[in-house]
């Protein structure tokens, strides 16, 4: 009896859904508003994903142990918060989101192994995860082979565009061009000293920075790299004092930051003074918590999000985040980008009227999220986000004060012409 009733209902919905699909082609808006209805599983899931009549399972894949866990836990929290909020608002296509969480353990092969497990065994409909480029590179072949969908939150070096990844952070040009243009226009910077930790993201970023600086006819007075975890920056600081650049463009990551900023101050380079100015793309509020606000006071960061952003979306987001995880939490750029992941996925699923990866991929470009804490984002054809570039000034309390914001959304350009 019950079975019969269900199948009848399914049939009815199926016909209605077919109509909806036709409508979809004509009007995206209609499809987005029709999410209250629950179309049958057979229709929204043709590829055997973990979707039932009332739940859909997704994966969360970050390091919650090992050296990267300090950075990645914020992303996990943001993703769980977004999932909770979506569920409270009725879920996706009438289905509540469940998640399977796996630990990448700051170890790249473990990421690959776990992503394979999530896609093959748990058959998750989407994965929110990865943080370092190395972990993304490790899982990428798995996602492409098994046709999964990864929402990747970190700002990164670009030079990648996978049909199986949506990049919700900024790619290098968005951060760097905004930073340098601002420093040149507003601060009259003429010379830059580039330095960074020695791996692909700082190197690629500085390559773009150097090209851009040289295009503007300005000078790069030095470029240096230090191994991850390096703590002796005295020699480079001496060189900086000798060369007297207008801007120190620093892409130092992880624990090295503490040593770097303390040694800068000890050597008498005070970022709160006019020159040299310290400009970074690697220190978010999360990092400041480790470095100490007093050590970075006065530095400028180029990102797309700061916790202090003054808009309604962000106020609600920060309040919800603190309510969930405690008042002493800080929210950095990547945490916000991670929060976008589940929402962008939900919108793609609803726009497609299906959980199928291929359909999500097809409809993803053009999706707009007006509820984003950073204000407004839109997915580009190349799977990156259109977003604004912003410059923040670090305060002693560990927060950034917004000092500049690009007027237009910046176009993501993972393969920048003339910068390679």
């Amino acid at each position: 009896m019950k079975m019969h009733k269900q199948s009848k209902k399914g049939g009815a919905n199926g016909r209605w859904g077919l109509g909806k699909l036709k409508l979809l082609a004509a009007s995206m808006v209609l499809a987005a508003t029709a999410n209250a209805a629950t179309p049958p599983t057979s229709q929204v899931n043709t590829t055997g994903l973990a979707v039932t009549d009332d739940t859909v399972t997704v994966g969360i894949l970050h390091s919650i142990t090992g050296t990267m866990s300090i950075s990645e836990i914020g992303s996990v929290q943001a993703e769980k918060l977004a999932i909770k909020q979506i569920n409270e608002a009725g879920g996706v296509l009438g289905r509540q989101i469940k998640y399977v969480q796996e630990d990448g353990a700051s170890d790249w092969p473990t990421f690959a192994e776990k992503s394979r497990k999530l896609l093959r065994q748990d058959k998750v409909a989407a994965v929110f995860g990865c943080w370092t480029s190395a972990s993304r590179k490790a899982v990428l072949p798995v996602f492409e082979q098994l046709n999964g969908m990864l929402y990747y939150p970190t700002f990164y070096e670009g030079l990648e565009q996978s049909p199986n990844v949506i990049y919700t952070g900024q790619e290098a040009t968005q951060q760097i061009l905004a930073a340098i243009d601002w420093a040149v226009k507003e601060k009259g910077a003429k010379s830059f000293y580039l330095l960074g930790s020695d791996y692909i993201w700082p190197r690629t970023s500085n390559k773009i920075a150097r090209k851009h600086i040289e295009k503007l006819g300005l000078t790069v007075s030095g470029e240096e790299y230090y191994p991850l975890g390096h703590t002796q920056f005295n020699s480079v600081i001496n060189k900086i004092k000798l060369k007297k650049p207008d801007v120190i463009f620093a892409i130092v990551v992880g624990g090295s930051n503490v040593a770097f900023y303390k040694q800068l101050q000890a050597a008498g380079i005070d970022p709160t003074k006019e020159k040299p100015m310290v400009l970074t793309i690697s220190v978010t509020e999360d990092e400041i918590r480790g470095i100490g606000g007093e050590n970075v006071e006065g530095i400028y960061a180029s990102m797309k999000y700061f916790q202090s952003l003054d808009n309604e979306n962000n106020k609600a987001f920060v309040a919800a985040f603190k309510k969930e995880y405690g008042d002493d939490m800080v929210i950095g750029d990547v945490t916000q980008a991670a929060y976008l992941g589940p929402w962008l996925w939900k919108m793609a699923v609803e726009k497609a009227g299906s959980f199928d990866i291929d359909k999500i991929r097809e409809v993803s470009p053009g999706i707009e999220f007006t509820g984003a804490p950073e204000g407004y984002v839109r997915i580009h054809e190349n799977h990156h986000l259109w977003s604004k570039g912003r410059i923040g000034l670090a305060m002693a309390d560990g927060q950034y004060k917004l000092v500049h914001e690009t007027e237009e959304l910046m176009e993501p350009d993972p393969f920048p012409e003339g910068y390679q």
């Binding site: 092969p109 490790a138 791996y199 190197r203 390559k207 191994p227 393969f415």
Partner: protein, 400 residues
């Protein structure tokens, strides 16, 4: 070993142990595990190669190398370089500024393939390099250390240092090596897609076959006079030296042997996992490998295989069940095992299970003791070949 004695050997207790392992790896696991888990087991087995080498090197000869990751990594990188070149066809890399070179080189502004990558276009060369490169490095390290009679803790520290240097070198020279990211996105081996389920299955069996190859080589070494000299060296190095043996030569040999095993393991790892990165070369990875060996029992080559399998299976299992607590559980497991069974699983087996078996097979006792040996006990005379002793003597005479 002639055929009749080989058949006899399979009837002995040691033969049965090998048969049981073979049964487990070739029949039971493939039948009970899905392709995903089987491929993971394959990955664990690649560590067993290193563990076997460590048993020979550390357990038998008393040379504790804390840098086996070096050789595992070198073998793995050799294979990865070949696979990466195959994946980087001009068509597949058309989007780059220089098509036809690996993607990470392009990101690092390299415009042509470095000279030391060139030979890795050839598969036979790659196979040779997988064993040759680790052995060559082991030979250099071993020669400089052992001929100067550097041993014990100093040697362990040196191997750590080399592991650290190699990691820094690989990470620092990212244009040539792929840096921290490693060499990723490997697709095919001579046109054969290594990412499919069937391929993973085949690779698993290749891995098992190679593992048994290494097991038999290790067993051969341990049961010959050579093996006994190694054991003697471990206990009384000076006495062995005064007996006229060139201790350094034996040490170099066993260190190279362990390096060769690790290299093969590394190459299989690359094939099964699909990429190679410096995290398998470094200090942490190398120490983990020593733990596999210690847990399995550092005196037993079979124990090492089980140790590598169990530790890794526990690691995967625990991290899936308790994503936030698993490192503690792993730590507790290590501490527990080391405290309760200092000789690892093999020691546990020897002191508890073996006596039981002895009672069960009491009738066969006489036959067994005359013909075979348990994994840890001394080899029997029946298994020594005649030609070997004299060649051994020539070898040492020549050297000393």
């Amino acid at each position: 070993m002639t055929t009749p004695s080989a058949i006899q050997w399979f009837k002995t207790r040691e033969g049965i142990y090998y048969m049981l392992l073979a049964l487990l790896l070739v029949v039971i696991l493939p039948l009970t595990l899905d392709p995903f888990r089987l491929s993971m087991t394959g990955k664990y087995l690649t560590y067993a190669f290193v563990a076997i080498g460590l048993v020979m090197c550390w357990g038998k000869a008393g040379i504790l190398s804390l840098g086996q990751g070096i050789f595992f990594g070198l073998g793995g990188y050799c294979m990865a370089m070949f696979l990466k070149l195959e994946a980087s066809t001009p068509e597949a890399t058309a989007i780059q500024s220089t098509p036809g070179i690996p993607d990470f080189m392009d990101w690092n502004q390299l415009t042509e393939l470095p000279w030391f990558w060139q030979p890795f276009h050839s598969f036979p060369f790659t196979l040779l390099a997988i064993i040759g490169v680790p052995v060559l490095l082991a030979l250099i390290i071993g020669f400089t250390m052992f001929t100067r009679r550097v041993g014990g803790v100093y040697f362990s520290i040196m191997t750590q240092a080399v592991a650290a240097i190699l990691t820094i070198l690989i990470i620092g020279q990212q244009g040539y090596t792929g840096g921290v990211n490693g060499i990723t996105d490997l697709r095919t081996l001579m046109g054969w897609d290594i990412r499919t389920d069937e391929a993973k299955m085949t690779l698993y069996f290749i891995c098992v076959a190679l593992l048994f190859g290494c097991l038999f080589i290790a067993r051969m070494v341990q049961n010959r006079k050579l093996g006994r000299i190694l054991m003697a060296m471990n206990a009384q190095e000076t006495r062995v030296r005064f007996s006229g043996y060139d201790v350094a030569a034996f040490k170099i040999f066993v260190f190279c042997l362990a390096a060769a095993f690790a290299g093969i393991g590394g190459a299989m790892f690359t094939l099964i996992v699909g990429f190679m990165s410096p995290s398998f070369v470094g200090i942490v990875a190398s120490i983990e490998m020593v733990i596999f060996c210690a847990l399995g029992g550092r005196l037993s080559i079979l124990g090492a295989v089980y140790g590598a399998l169990l530790v890794n299976a526990a690691k995967s299992g625990l991290s899936e069940s308790f994503p936030e607590l698993w490192p503690f559980a792993m730590g507790a497991l290590f501490i527990g095992v080391v405290m309760a069974f200092p000789n690892g699983l093999a020691g546990l087996y020897q002191s508890y299970i073996q006596p039981l078996e002895d009672r069960l097979f009491k009738g066969k006792q006489a036959e067994i003791s005359s013909q075979s040996s348990a994994p840890i006990s001394q080899p029997s005379k029946a298994e020594e070949s005649d030609g070997y002793d004299s060649s051994m003597d020539n070898y040492s005479a020549e050297k000393s």
